[in-house]
Amino acid sequence: MPKAFFIDTTRCTACRGCQVACKEWHNLPAVQTRQTGTHQNPPDLNPFNYKLVRFSEHLIDGVIRWYFFPDQCRHCFQPPCLFTAEDYVPGAIVQDEDTGAVLYTDLTRHLSAEEFEEVRHACPYDIPRRDSGTGLVSKCDMCIDRVKNDKLPMCVNTCAMGAMHFGEYDDIRALAEKRLEVVRGEFPNASLANPDDVAVVYLLADEPERLHQHAVAQAPAPMTRKQLLARLARPLNKASRA
């Protein structure tokens, strides 16, 4: 049974506890930032921020809407990033059998610049980032060290607003569906983002693009012939989760 997250943007207050806790748990260094006219900082995911709370504001029919989107890797059931990297550096990206966590290993440093771009491009949510110093590619690791020790992922543990939940996929999915029904009155455009495909199920408060450009999957780039062949040749147990 894969593990899953439920992230409820209708409850998020953008306190950024998750963003900071993720860094602290992983001992990630602070990055140099500047104020550029938004609260969103750092401006984007980077090798030292696996979790980023995105802010987007709108004036819709005279009503101010301010949306928060705690962005992170979705731990796709069939991770395009993994399939892509597998062709170039086997073992660079792996998927944990027990949890479904998609994990980037030290081998990611052997991906060439173009190959990394291809991996990033393959991700429907624009998640992977590379440390130009070490060459390592990184992203959210589901706090696999904690989860394997029966602890909640650090971000989930930190959220006091009940915006984040973690558990077995079926339970999480049921929770998300139930919550969606509850919030429909206040948020008529609410939806779940690609709930069939990913282990990180977002409840979006409004049209996806009003929260974040990559809130829902972007159509992946067409596969190269090589990728296509590689995918077809892949053993079934690796390609199918869930």
């Binding site: 207050t13 506890g17 500047r34 504001e57 004036l59 607003m161």
Partner: protein, 805 residues
């Protein structure tokens, strides 16, 4: 808070005003969301659309400093539409009390104003009293001078049009809030008000909160589950520090500070012990002499005897009307009247108003001791911007202090819960807790005093001063112990035994207790602040009350004034959410506000036990600037006249007078924009600690100014531009954050722009900007002298040269 965090969940309506709860008291919002989930309406009234507004049902922007106009309009709505809780108001508040003939109000001034001293003769506001000294009442509410009718007359002027034009809030938005909140006047509904510095930091700060309390009394929302008037207090331990009198005007447990006009303890007690001849009034402060004697006994130990009035004469005394609060302190320092001092746990060179003056004032000191975790704008003022170290003679000592996780002790949370916290690790290096510093420094001073003569030796040497700092011992002492074997009410107590509750405190020196409010928190059985037991009765579970978790003052009562939540027979007004209930001859639920039986028994007491007359004070003759809140413009106002009267600003407000304290003129053309200042989630207060926490600085790295796209366009400013914000006192560079979350406000026939800036960025952190308080004025509320950080007048322009960022 009259109530507590978890209780917010019980509310049917939540008015967040004067607070940005989700950002500044994030955990409070957990309970707001729970209430919302159960159908509560959550309203945020604030100049800025913030993360709180984003999660509320709706946000209402208003002009800073117009809360009394806004709330006064709500009082009018409640009275005009008969939305008040009639039984509650007549029985439990002073609505029916008749005010004396000398009271008047005209053109913005109450009776008794002395123009020269800018003070009121408050005796003119007194109630009419009968031969026993009880206030005369007309429970039919017909008498034209009964409080409710005076309020009708007073707030009759707060029409929708006038309120809308003053506050900048549309009539629709006013009605939306008024209707939703006034609906909680029904006996089975409750509304809570959550406020913080957005209400207090004004020249009318105390009256803002008075008016909120008035509304809560009218709606019967005090004492009930999901109700109350709830000041949000947080990690700085504001609750604990006021309980323990970190302010100059009080002694621990809210006993008044000694004044020169009360030379003896007898004088002090006479002046501060109210009398009531009403058998139904508990008049709790009649116990004050017991609390004062026990406090003195705790401080001076065996040296305190009945013969020497427990060393009362050794206490320092205030001059009458003497003000020794922050702004006056720095004003005196600026004028060269102070030569040295200690600064612990605060960073005034960053967080006091009118920073330029504050920093220059520090340079007049011969010596300065700062206890801090990091170098701050205060400890390092001598090398700050515009300072020439070689010109400054101040000798500064920086004592490295332990971080919260490096010490144990109690913190009193917003809901008055005393909670013990433990040391996670030993302080690093030579850093030490502030308690240890203070105790050891004083021991060194005492040693010197024993060796050589000095001023006021008795004051120092008579104290029962500990050899070393021990938080456990201090917690014990706060609760207090018996100083000799005694018998009280038929029960025998041994010398040294912990006192079970403040009901046992005595005037004869047999009890020592350094904070009567905390009496009952540390018994012979142990420190109740350490309890983490979640057990509760089903009745308690129903309203989220956890009586065995930590300990709440007073006497573990979780909801203050809870006797007001029941009718004369002790039956809850709202049977679905009882706080207390009289069942089978006893109270069940919360610890009742006094154990007397219900009122109908004839042996009951009125629920507002801290007021001498026992009634909730709609009309409050006690405050310096009026018995009823009235709208005045801020000290710096964009308006030339007050829409409500001929009195522009609070006639009693405090204002520093020096060459460094200029104010903008009313409607000053040079400074047409209203500035409000605030904290933000990612930094703590003045930022001295969090700017040194890299991951937090990463999230909020630099000074910014939030402004509407309309204003930005008018000024030719683009998002991300560096701008200069200028007031009559200084200029600050900031990055423009152009946002629809700030709305231009239509006020008195024109558009007023408001901008907002956080106060946490200071020069000791490179390139993050510097104190926004260089802009704010040193003016304050007459009752508390809290500075008016929330309103000043400024102008902005695009910067042609950037130096601070």
């Amino acid at each position: 808070m009259t109530n507590h965090w978890t209780d917010i969940e019980n509310a049917n309506a939540i008015l967040i005003m004067g607070s940005n709860a989700a950002e500044h008291h994030p955990i409070s919002f957990k309970w707001v969301l729970k209430a919302k989930e159960k159908g509560a309406v959550v309203m945020h009234v604030d100049p800025k659309f913030s993360r709180t507004s984003a999660r509320s049902d709706f946000h209402v922007p208003l002009r800073s400093g117009t809360d009394i106009a806004f709330l006064g309009g709500m009082v009018k709505y409640i009275l005009d539409n008969d939305k008040f809780f009639h039984d509650y108001v007549v029985q439990y508040t002073n609505a029916a009390c008749i005010v004396g003939e000398k009271f008047s109000f005209s053109n913005g001034l109450f009776a008794g104003f002395d123009k020269k001293t800018r003070r009121y003769d408050r005796s003119l506001w007194a109630f009419e009293r009968d031969e026993n000294g009880l206030p005369r009442r007309d429970t039919s509410l017909k008498h034209k001078r009964c409080v409710l009718n005076l309020m009708r007359a007073h707030y009759g002027r707060y029409t929708l049009d006038r309120v809308s034009s003053t506050t900048g809030v549309s009539r629709e938005n006013l009605m939306r809030v008024y209707e939703a909140f006034a609906a909680t006047g029904a006996p089975d509904k409750a509304g809570t008000m959550m406020y913080a510095l957005g209400w207090t930091q004004h020249t009318v700060g105390v009256q803002n909160i008075r008016l909120a309390a008035i509304i809560q009394l009218l709606l019967g929302n005090i004492g009930v589950a999901g109700g109350g008037i709830n000041a949000l207090r947080g990690e700085p331990n504001v609750q604990g520090s006021t309980d323990h009198a970190l302010l100059y005007h009080i002694l621990p447990g809210y006993l008044p500070m000694v004044q020169a006009k009360w030379p003896t303890l007898a004088d002090y007690n006479k002046a501060n012990t109210p009398v009531s001849n009403d058998p139904q009034s508990a008049n709790w402060w009649q116990n004050r002499p017991k609390y004062m004697a026990s406090l003195l006994k705790s401080w001076f130990g065996d040296n305190a005897t009945e013969q020497n009035e427990f060393c009362y004469g050794l206490l320092p005394r205030l001059d009458e009307h003497g003000d020794y609060s922050l702004m006056y302190l720095f004003d005196r320092m600026y004028k060269g009247q102070i030569s040295g001092g200690f600064v612990f746990g605060t960073n005034p060179a960053q967080s006091a108003p009118n920073t330029h003056k504050t920093r220059r004032a520090l340079s007049n000191l011969d010596w300065l001791v700062v206890g801090e975790l990091h170098h701050t704008e205060t400890s390092d003022f001598w090398r700050g911007p515009g300072m020439n170290p070689s010109d400054i003679g101040t000798e500064v000592f920086l004592l490295p202090s332990a971080q919260r996780g490096e010490k144990e002790g109690s913190i009193t949370n917003s809901g008055r819960w005393l909670m013990w916290h433990y040391m996670a690790q030993q302080p690093i290096g030579e850093s030490r807790s502030l308690g240890a510093m203070v105790v050891d420094i004083m021991n060194a001073v005492r040693k010197l005093y024993r060796q050589e003569p000095g001023a006021f030796p008795e004051q120092l040497l008579m104290h029962d001063w500990p050899q070393a700092f021990d938080p456990d011992r201090i917690a014990k002492r706060n609760n207090g112990w018996f100083t000799r074997d005694v018998e009280i009410g038929g029960v025998a107590y041994k010398k040294g035994q912990q006192i079970p509750g403040f009901g046992n405190l005595q005037t004869d020196g047999s009890t020592a207790c350094s904070s009567w409010l905390q009496c009952g928190s540390y018994l012979d059985s142990g420190n109740l602040a350490k309890r983490r037991d979640l057990s509760q009765t089903p009745m308690q579970a129903n309203i989220g009350l956890f009586p065995n978790f930590a300990w709440a003052w007073p006497m573990n009562r979780r909801v203050l004034y809870n006797r007001a939540s029941v009718d004369a027979n002790g039956r809850p007004w709202n049977p679905a959410k009882p706080v207390i209930s009289w069942e089978d001859g006893k109270w069940v639920g919360d610890v009742p506000d006094g154990g007397w039986p219900p009122m109908a028994s004839g042996k009951g007491k009125l629920p507002f036990i801290m007021a001498a007359d026992g009634y909730g004070q709609l009309y409050g003759p006690g405050r310096l600037d009026g018995p009823l809140p009235e709208h005045y413009e801020p000290a710096e106002t964009p308006l030339a006249r007050n829409p409500f009267s001929g009195q522009l600003s609070n006639p009693c407000m405090k204002r520093m007078i020096s060459d460094a304290d200029p104010l903008a003129k009313p409607a000053d053309k040079r400074y047409p924009i209203v500035l409000t200042t605030y904290c933000l989630t990612e930094h703590w207060c003045g930022g001295g600690e969090t700017r040194n926490t890299p991951v937090l600085l990463e999230a909020e790295p630099q000074q910014y100014v939030e402004m509407s796209p309309e204003l930005a366009k008018e000024k030719g400013i683009a998002n991300g531009d560096v701008v200069v914000v200028e007031s009559a006192r200084g200029r600050v560079e900031a990055v423009a954050m152009v946002t629809v979350r700030m709305r231009p406000l239509p006020v008195e026939g024109r558009i007023i722009h408001e901008i907002g800036m956080p106060f946490c960025f200071g020069w000791t952190t490179p390139k993050c900007g510097d104190a926004v308080n260089r802009l704010t004025p040193a003016v304050g509320d007459p009752n508390t002298t809290i500075p008016e950080y929330k309103v000043s007048l400024v102008n902005i322009r695009k910067a042609d040269k950037v130096t601070e960022l």
